[in-house]
Symmetry: C2
Subunit: 332 residues, 2 copies
């Protein structure tokens, strides 16, 4: 193994000088700097991560806490994971995966052992058992999602309430008077996941405000369940002419079922999805949608965490404004 002492010898300087070149924590003359950098390359030197973390008290690793729960949509989840990993790398950090089957103990372990400098927590429930743990951990954390009590925490999320509301507004503006929210699987609501609740709240409130009738139903993701759910919905509420779908996995089936029922989109039924843009674009017809900006959220969360690590003050709550893109599924 090549050590900093080897590099120092090769470049004819002291080990501390090499360290300062690498970390940039003291000014070094450009001549020395160039010489050291050449030696680093020549020897193929990589600082020992453990030694560095021991001496500097920074591991340059972030924990990504990722529970795997029923009803979660993997493609979207994966977009988050990749966005976080890439953003972390841009800040010279790596990502340690903590799947939550280890629960709160896992958080204590990775934080307590100084394996990670900070934590990024996904799929936050309203009353999440991890929240109190995060509060008394000595490491900073950022939640993607909101618990019921966010005091003392830093959270980022899409403004799902506003997203639900914008969908209703768009439909109401187009003259629809009866709209339905096709929501996440029942399990997601049952465990009180913040984003599902907030979309529903925003949806219902906007319907009241705009004076349009509304109904909501949780929906499973398999095709057969979707068929039953949508068919039932349109039978019970024949006046429904606008659908807001907040369920990425069910989305293709919803479109397909409407087609097979002979309901033309958008002529008979308008459809708005709350999902990543690329998915909305790929369906036939392309769907008007409120984007779930997974990439942007991931980057933002990492940026906030890095700021906290730098002791820069950060806003406790960040709600990204929803962006609605009109496509073929709601045009008159």
């Amino acid at each position: 193994m090549v050590t900093i002492a080897d590099v120092a010898r090769h470049a004819g300087v002291a080990p501390s000088t090499v360290s300062y070149v690498l970390t940039g924590r003291r000014s070094i003359s450009s001549a020395t700097k160039a010489r050291v950098e050449a030696s680093v390359r020549a020897l193929g030197y990589h600082p020992h991560a453990g030694a560095r973390s021991l001496a500097s008290n920074r591991a340059n690793v972030l924990a990504l806490v990722l529970p795997m729960r029923e009803g979660m949509h993997m493609p979207v989840l994966m977009q988050f994971v990749v966005a976080v990993a890439n953003a972390a790398r841009r800040h010279d950090h790596d990502v340690l995966l903590v799947t939550a089957d280890q629960g709160a103990a896992g958080l204590r372990r990775v934080a307590g052992s100084a394996q990670v400098d900070g934590l990024l927590v996904m799929d936050v429930e309203m009353h999440d058992e991890r929240v109190p743990v995060l509060r008394d951990l000595d490491r900073p954390s950022v939640l993607i999602g909101f618990p019921a009590d966010a005091a003392g925490l830093t959270c980022v999320d899409l403004d799902f309430a506003e997203a639900g509301s914008r969908c209703v507004d768009h439909l109401a503006d187009l003259g629809h008077t009866y709209v339905a929210l096709v929501g996440a699987p029942r399990a997601v609501y049952q465990r009180d996941t913040g984003f599902a609740h907030r979309t529903m709240a925003g949806f219902s409130a906007a319907a009241m405000r705009r004076g349009v009738s509304s109904t909501t139903l949780p929906t499973e993701t398999d095709h057969e369940s979707v068929r039953v759910a949508i068919t039932g919905l349109l039978e019970r509420h024949p006046a429904v002419t606008g659908l807001v779908v907040h369920n990425e996995a069910a989305l293709p089936s919803v479109v397909e079922v409407l087609r097979s029922l002979g309901r033309k989109v958008p002529d008979d039924v308008a459809v708005i999805a709350i999902c990543p843009d690329d998915q909305a674009e790929r369906l036939m017809p392309p769907l008007t949608s409120v984007a779930v900006p997974a990439e942007q959220l991931g980057h933002h969360a990492v940026a906030l965490l890095m700021a906290k690590l730098d002791r820069t003050p950060t806003p406790p709550l960040t709600l990204l404004p929803p962006r609605l893109t009109e496509r073929a599924s709601t045009t008159r």
Copy 2:
């Protein structure tokens, strides 16, 4: 921060004794052991990971190298990730995520900095740029998948050739004389991904051997592409009565398109999927399938890597035998 010295003082022993209790590398009297363990709990001690890795030359972390490429199916990928993470934890290791947008340099970095003890590499291509790097890294690695030249490497995978072959056999046994392979998206073949090629090879060879006619077509994942592809397939090859689908994302659409074309499954067309069991079960009708045992593969890969870390001899190549489960989509 609580250090090993604090624990030692609290328990009235030397730091080295605490270390031996924790690592189990020397025998310790049960009385002392109990006392130390009580102190560890009382003080909430977690060994500093960096210090440990520096002193012992082991980080207890595995890298999971995960390229994100076109045409990959996220749910299956995620199953692997979770299986690997859980298996690693059972061996007292954590998982560091390396998304491959960093390419070979990323591997060099995490291995060179002693951040990880070993590497798990996914989505291996036939001529993968990472393979030569892995060979000259000083850390052990296990590939999930096979490159063209696997000399000097440890690889695990499902025996996809045999899987393709078993599907043909099953259909031939049922009397089918013209079968088609509905394969992965074109991009997957274009970048020479091992598993896609091997399935196709096994499929074609078995068709020859059994004397049944066969055809193959790559298939994109969106519904419309699937509709065009399947419709075209059945027009060009009207005698086809058996479909082998090796494309998880397209699977629901394939079933749906057959239904909408009025082809009954299994009466008009038999369908076998190569996909995780849970997906095959959830479709209507439930599909006969060869399981892609993501969980088992993940566990196996971790077990092999741990063995290599222990310097236990390991088989260079492991092919898990495919398991075909008969369900409603191929019953006569």
